[in-house]
Assembly symmetry: C2
Homo-oligomer: 385 residues x 2
């Protein structure tokens, strides 16, 4: 088992002290990336000004049928590429459509792509911008809780191929990312549930204090108060998630070390479940929530996750109403699952690795010490308490 | 007209003093990239060792039907993706095939793509490697004169879309690039002609001395001695081309400044001619050679290129047997040409720019000061002497 020399970076536990007025600046690799957490959606003028885009340069707005109404509030006259919504649209065909429309409006390297939507739209737009003429300008307006807490920050772009999530992609951060709390008011409940799972994950990686903050949102989540007043209830939690992810990505922007990989807590099992159930069947968060419990079981079996810690994480996930039992009700065939697991991108020297919670945070464990038998027991639910 | 503050970087004119034993190390952005100029093709063992690739990691060789025989000399047992040859293959379908075969052989982020061929194969393999799981290992074996003097060095990757050359691409240098002079013995004469144009361009950007070296190769080029004994005749010229391009790219790896853009001498007119004639009809070098003469005419009209300099460049290009007259015999419709020219990637703030030779090297000129009428005169041959 491999543990990073110092699992806790310098900023750990200092996050609450460095809160700002909703504006957060990161540098991913050599690329500056700013996040703006505000009540309202930004105007096109604000986006153009902050991204230093010349008024002569071409702009293409990209959204899906769900976020078209938000896009119209940003601009009614600028060229807009409206895609169908859903994970099944996350393919080369959508990228080609974005690129074709950019070409038609004469967008050059100094032009700007603005992606307005959840993770599918921001990942697709970011990928298209990163390869269009070898890189054009990019801003994002993240409109889902999952996007704000995960997809929109950190520069991972991509689309699915051969049934594998984000098999094709780049590291290419947006210069500006806007998160508007008011748009969460119209978010469907399934999307809330998907996003909350990433918030729970962030809390596990951050601190007992953040985990307490997540716990305190359970009732307002279940009775709908979060959705009615997201500006009141969600600002601090989203700020923490952005800061935790942002600082971790700054430490290890291209996931060549172990720091960024910790963000994959619950994702090895989760992605495999998404693939095995058929991409788009389960929401990403539902799959990750289920995957985190499997990670706890794995960590316990390896003696890394203290039983009380595993119980606490499992209890929170169950309280939010996620499916926790193994085998998952949508998992038809364990061999499909194992194959998807083995195709995981996070391989080094041909070896899988897993993130499991430890007493305070989480660590990366090489699959060297994990037998296939143990994985099968976990997926089948033989280790459940 | 915009001129860079100091058009001559520190290494200019010092290149002959820093010749090494055929091994050249560059750093493009933050990525190290080494070029090895040798008589023979490298063995697979050499490639794996030099690129620090674990013996446990998966490897995919990529070539086309022309370079399959070279690939078999490198390895007979490793998985190989053989594409059809030609510029028309430079599309998403080919990238998808490379990615699909990589996935089938279980290639992970620590795996290695080895592209063996001319510019089409090295650009396609480099693009696939740069987006596969957001980036896997990459080595190139460049097998054409054009590839050695241009495509393989400097990290530009990509493929054609909507009839535009390299509309989709990334900046992603190979860690190791091998140039084997012996493979040039089997290079068809059209490929020799394509590569020599880039060598002439390099000489124009370098020095009178390199231009003299190019002139001295005219007879051995025309009587076939270059092709019979490339190891004897071509080593110094290829070394100079690699060094000139490598140092220029190091100065400006992502073409955000003006230095790398100078390498596009002849390319704005050349790319537009390639597009207007139909991609794959003309060789890249033939188009660039014709484009360089147009750049001289433009430079003269603007008072930047001294007439004696324009005459010398035109004379060398004509001596090598390139089509020099305007309009080009394959150009059917000037409007298609102008449209392709306006779609050029090298736009800033919606403006085209052109590279034109000056007394010693070349400079970048904004299209602000160039009227459409002047461009039409040049393309139609109205300014020819």
């Amino acid at each position: 088992m491999k543990r990073p020399p110092s699992p806790y970076p310098f900023w750990y536990r200092k996050i609450p002290e460095i809160y700002t007025n909703g504006n957060y600046s990161f540098t991913f690799g050599q690329t500056p990336s700013q996040v703006h957490i505000e009540e309202q959606i930004p105007s096109l003028e604000t986006i153009l000004k902050e991204s230093n885009t010349s008024s002569a340069a071409a702009v293409l707005l990209v959204c899906d049928t769900h976020t078209e109404y938000i896009t119209k509030k940003i601009s009614r006259n600028r060229p807009t590429c409206v895609l169908e919504s859903g994970e099944t649209q996350k393919n080369w065909g959508s990228v080609e459509r974005i690129i074709t429309e950019a070409r038609e409006v004469g967008l050059g390297r100094d032009g700007l792509f603005i992606g307005i939507g959840g993770g599918v739209i921001t990942d697709l737009t970011s990928f298209a911008a990163s390869v269009y003429m070898r890189g054009a300008g990019l801003c994002l307006v993240s409109t889902t809780l999952l996007g704000m807490t995960d997809a929109a920050v950190g520069g991972k772009t991509g689309f699915d191929l051969l049934g594998i999530k984000n098999l094709v992609g780049t590291f290419s951060p947006a210069s500006h990312i806007y998160m508007s709390l008011e748009v969460l008011k119209t978010l469907p409940s399934r999307e809330w549930k998907s996003g909350m799972a990433e918030l729970i994950k962030t809390a596990v990686l951050d601190s007992a204090e953040t985990l307490d903050l997540v716990k305190s949102k359970k009732m307002p989540f279940l009775d709908g108060a979060l959705a009615r007043e997201p500006g009141l209830h969600m600002k601090e939690l989203i700020e923490r998630a952005v800061l935790v992810k942002g600082r971790m990505v700054e430490t290890d922007p291209r996931e060549t070390g172990t720091e960024r990989a910790l963000l994959n807590l619950g994702h090895s099992f989760g992605h495999a479940l998404e693939s095995a159930a058929g991409l788009g069947t389960l929401s990403h968060g539902e799959a990750v929530a289920w995957g985190m419990i499997r990670a706890c079981e794995l960590g316990q079996a390896l003696g890394i996750t203290p039983p009380a810690r595993a119980r606490e994480i499992t209890k929170i996930i169950a309280a939010y109403g996620y499916e926790t039992a193994a085998p998952h009700s949508l998992l038809k065939d364990i061999r499909t699952f194992i194959k998807a697991l083995e195709g995981d991108k996070k391989k080094k020297a041909g070896k899988l690795s897993f993130v499991v919670p430890d007493a305070e945070r989480a660590v990366l464990v090489s699959a060297d010490i994990i037998g296939l038998r143990l994985l099968e027991q976990i997926i089948n639910g033989d280790l459940q308490q």
